[in-house]
């Protein structure tokens, strides 16, 4: 992971210029078919040992890596959905996961790094054998980005409440955290327990610019790696619902209703240029309703789509990988890209 300080300043400068001067354009409401041009469908290969239940996906030019947190398995697929490799199983032995695998990434030599919920990082060779493990002391460890030979950007929580930072630069050689950033956004005391419970964080990274979101904070946060720069850009959303105080603890039904009363940011994707896609969700009973918000790095709203299929991943070319909106199961996907006629 190379650090270009000039790049950081330029990138954060975009945000500074664009959010100054008063009115902040909000995103325009759209349907998914109006903003996404569909290219193809994929059906992921399955068999008696491979069932996609809860896929967390990373995509590159060679195909897809799927970490399935409910099946304790990581799978590698070609772009056409052909299964080429599986690693892991539920257990405590070598190459097994005792807690759910949350993310996976490929190194240039074909080896694979998998992060577990418990904070463990395991490296598998091309034959699926474990070649190394590391304990990060982060729990939960939500995943990682910025994969290269030396450095990962880990998303997770430190071992104690005193350390509220959510992003951690991990030196794979020294097996240690070399920097921490993105403290849990401050909230009033009545919401402190809420942000601890739903305190999921996600980030994406290009060069030395990190873009992060926190579940209940209606904003994106821009950080420069290797610097102290930090800019908070509010979401230009018309539909994201802010969290409010939880009900008294004795009433389970009220808690249930409260859980349905606010939105939560789930992921941030960079689709190229200065366009970001943010995925957030609302609960409706036990059903998760996904929504997408497109905005610029500077905070200008582009579009917002409610009740979408889940966006699983975005590749470096800006292709979007969704669960097929017509599929009953999550092994059927649709790939598209943002149309050229986005609102300006």
């Amino acid at each position: 992971m190379h650090i270009h300080r000039t790049g950081i300043l330029v990138s954060l400068g975009i945000g500074a210029c664009s959010t100054q001067g008063g009115e902040r354009p909000m995103a325009v409401e759209r349907r998914l078919d109006e903003v996404v041009v569909w290219e193809r469908s994929i059906s992921l290969e399955e068999n008696a040992r491979v069932i996609n239940v809860s896929p967390r996906v990373r995509v590159d030019t060679s195909g897809y890596l799927v970490a399935d947190m409910k099946e304790y398995q990581v799978r590698q697929y070609r772009l056409d959905g052909t299964l080429t490799r599986t690693v892991g199983a539920h257990g405590t032995g070598p190459g097994e996961f005792s807690t759910p695998p949350m993310a996976a990434g490929l190194l240039a030599d074909g080896s694979m790094i998998v992060s577990e919920f418990s904070g463990r990082l395991s490296t598998f060779d091309s034959l699926g054998q474990v070649t190394g493990t590391a304990v990060t002391s982060l729990i939960p460890l939500y995943g990682f980005v910025g994969l290269d030979r030396e450095t990962l950007l880990l998303m997770g929580r430190g071992p104690n409440r005193a350390d509220t930072r959510l992003l951690h630069v991990w030196d794979t050689g020294e097996q240690t955290v070399t920097a921490r950033l993105f403290p849990v956004p401050r909230v009033r005391p009545s919401l402190a327990s809420v942000v601890w419970m739903v305190g999921h964080a996600h980030a994406t990274q290009r060069d030395s610019l990190v873009i992060a979101v926190f579940a209940t904070d209606p904003a994106v946060h821009l950080f420069g790696l290797g610097s102290t720069e930090h800019r908070r850009v509010p979401l230009p959303s018309r539909h994201f619902r802010d969290v409010h105080d939880p009900p008294p603890r004795v009433n389970a039904r009220a808690v249930q209703q409260w859980l349905q009363s606010f939105s939560r940011l789930s992921e941030v994707f960079w689709t190229g240029g200065d366009t970001l896609l943010l995925q957030y969700y609302d609960m409706e009973g036990s059903t998760v309703r996904w929504n997408l918000l497109a905005m610029t790095l500077g905070g200008r709203g582009l579009f917002e789509v409610e009740d979408t299929p889940r966006l699983l991943a975005v590749d470096d070319a800006g292709r979007l990988v969704f669960v097929d909106p017509e599929a009953m199961v999550p092994n059927r996907w649709r790939v598209g890209r943002l149309g050229s006629s986005l609102p300006s």
Partner: protein, 182 residues
């Protein structure tokens, strides 16, 4: 096929501690070796019927045999799966099963009918019946293995101690899980 079936039975049984119990009177729980009540007997071509008896609030993935049931779902010639919902919340259970990719017939029993049929049996419980005999019973541990969080007010408010998630762990999949409780 027999070896495969045996392995799958072991997989179900190994999910989290099996309650292998002795025989008893008519109001006691169903036990291994008992004759199965009609509801639990396989009626189709598959020789095994796996019945998962739950309440809606038991849809907590850390306490369910979901992974094993998914495997069974894939071999309908060997085993059929049914889920019996005790009390209300059948719709939530159906949604849960769909999300978990478990193919099962779902039916509902009110609490009185459940008591009449299953005696003092724990809920949730999973029964495996071959022909007309109970060959395995699984009752999950009283508390989930692994994480315990008792310092979060809102989680205590959910009133289900089973819903124990580590701090900051409610990624979307987990929210779905916890929201299944009511």
């Amino acid at each position: 096929m027999a070896r495969r079936t045996a392995r799958l039975i072991i997989a179900v049984v190994a999910m989290g501690g099996v309650a292998w119990c002795g025989r008893g009177g008519s109001t006691r729980s169903l036990e291994v070796g008992d004759g199965a009540p009609p509801l639990l007997r396989p009626t189709g071509r598959a020789p095994l019927l796996i019945t998962w008896v739950i309440r809606a609030q038991d849809c907590l993935t850390c306490r369910t045999p979901s992974r094993a049931l998914r495997r069974w779902s894939g071999i309908p010639m060997e085993a059929a799966i049914q889920v019996v919902v005790v009390g209300r919340g059948e719709d939530r259970v159906r949604a849960f099963l769909e999300a978990e990719r478990i193919v099962a017939r779902v039916s509902r029993l009110n609490r009185g009918a459940h008591r009449k049929m299953f005696g003092r049996a724990s809920v949730p419980a999973l029964y495996v019946v071959r022909h007309d005999t109970v060959i395995a019973v699984w009752v999950p541990a009283a508390r989930p293995v692994g994480f315990a969080v008792d310092s979060i007010d809102v989680q205590q408010g959910m009133s289900h101690e089973e819903c124990a998630c580590p701090e900051g762990s409610l990624v979307p999949e987990e929210v779905q899980r916890c929201s299944c409780a009511s």
